[in-house]
Amino acid sequence: MIISVASGKGGTGKTTIAVNLALALAGDKKNNVYFLDCDVEEPNAHLFLKPLIKKSEPVEIPIPKIDYNKCNFCGKCARACLFNAIAVAKNKVLIFPELCHGCGACTYICPEGAISEKGREIGIIEEGEAGLSNFMEGRLNIGEAIAPPIIKRIKKRGIEKYQSEVNKNKNGSKQHILLIDAPPGTSCPVIESIKESDYTILVTEPTPFGLHDLVLAVEVLKKLQIPYGVVLNKCDIGDHQVEKYCQEKEIPILMSLPMDKEIAIAYSKGIPLVNLGYSYKQKFISLFQNIVTEYKLAKVRN
């Protein structure tokens, strides 16, 4: 089962939920847990999971390289590039690597065959182990704008690994769970992170900001047709509008966590909640059971 953790608003507790769910599930030997940190602009799960990184590799996107022996400065590449990453002057072709999406239109259109492609590093992905979980994270390089190619790479790698284990153990008793920690927002990096999920947890808090951004996140999930439920973090601050909204829209509240000084201090130090005691671990196991139930219900409804 692929479960992603997302939220419209940042700082509501996505990483807390994802990390603790992973740890609680990994504590049971029959589970095989995979963790993908797809918040590549600000990856934080490693601060709590403290993984042992075994492999690190650059993520590159292809950018054009001009062969001046062949180029006749016709300008077709610049006109084809809708991202304004190429400009052609009298006897020079200017490439703006940060704007290039690596689509290959310039290479395709060049009548002289003067454009080849070379890789340009925009970030890295790291693979390793965190306790009983398989861990993978991406990291966008400083100054780079385009995060989705890195997310795409982690997803591909992670899902392949997960899928091959699932296929290998078809008749086994192992339960495979892939958890995805998504970035905040509602635009392309979020979509890229969550799109193959079986279920998405939306983490929010009971404030007007939390509600406003939850409504947007719900729109995303509807568009992607992924079943979803809400985790209400710091459930005792603010007001009751989020609960009211969920009730009206028949969105399940999968778990509520109170505002607690003990939790806040542990978080600030990078200590996972499940390390604070058995009751927290139980809470996250129940969260998973609720997800499974809701997922089955959603499947029946479709």
């Binding site: 602009e41 934080n44 100054g143 927002g185 947007l216 995303v220 130090k269």
Partner: protein, 289 residues
Amino acid sequence: MKEIVIVSGKGGTGKTVIAGSFAVLAKNKVMGDCDVDASNLYLLLHPQVKEKHDFYAGVIPEIDLTKCNQCGLCEELCRYDAITVSQDGAFVDYISCEGCGLCGLACPEKAVEMKENLCGEWYISETQYGPLVYARLGIAEENSGILVTTVRKNARVIAENRNLDLIIIDGPPGIGCPLIASITGANLVVVVTEPTLSGIHDLERVIEVSQHFNVEPVVIINKFDINLENTSSIKEFCKENSISVIGRIHFDNIITEALVKGLPVVEHSDNKVTQEIKDIWQEIFKKIQ
């Protein structure tokens, strides 16, 4: 004219709470909300929308199935796996499509037409504290960077037309496309952080990005009393990198209370925390003079 941008790296550290209070405290200014994915500043400032504009950016392919002969070239060329060709024709997955136009260039039957893409809205509004420009990116859309630039450009036009001295931008989280579009060319980046390991990790990254684009960063430590040890680490880090910490704010429930009432916190109460925010504003004001 000066432009300051409030950012954080990590989400939820209090950017909008601070921006909302600055909107009350600053004089002669225009506000812009550049968190176009999830803009929240208007929830505190209660604007009256004066102008609403459609936001078009990029293009998306539309396939004329009467012309398509299912040759499959578009599917083969598309690097975003956004086109699937079957016996019934070619179909575009608009969520995966990045709008590069290669399918349109390549189609031998000229069956692909590239259409302008409506991907959001932006608004010019008036609040009791001055004009506010904000936006809403369509769900699951791209081009957030261009929308951010649109918000900033229009805030600047308003400032010029009305002789305002200051542009206050509420920025997005992260360090990618929308963040870069929010800070390039600004006068000051105000980073709101919190004394947690995640907060510190993300603070360091967003500071590096600011410096990469040559905009001076200053730091506010919000909820500094949650972890005093981490607060000192932040101060040390800033000192080592010659970045000024212009203030710190206690953890206080009145911040949430003000939020629930839909008020900038300095309008809601007058206590230690609001005084801290007022002092921070004075520091920033001095800095940009």
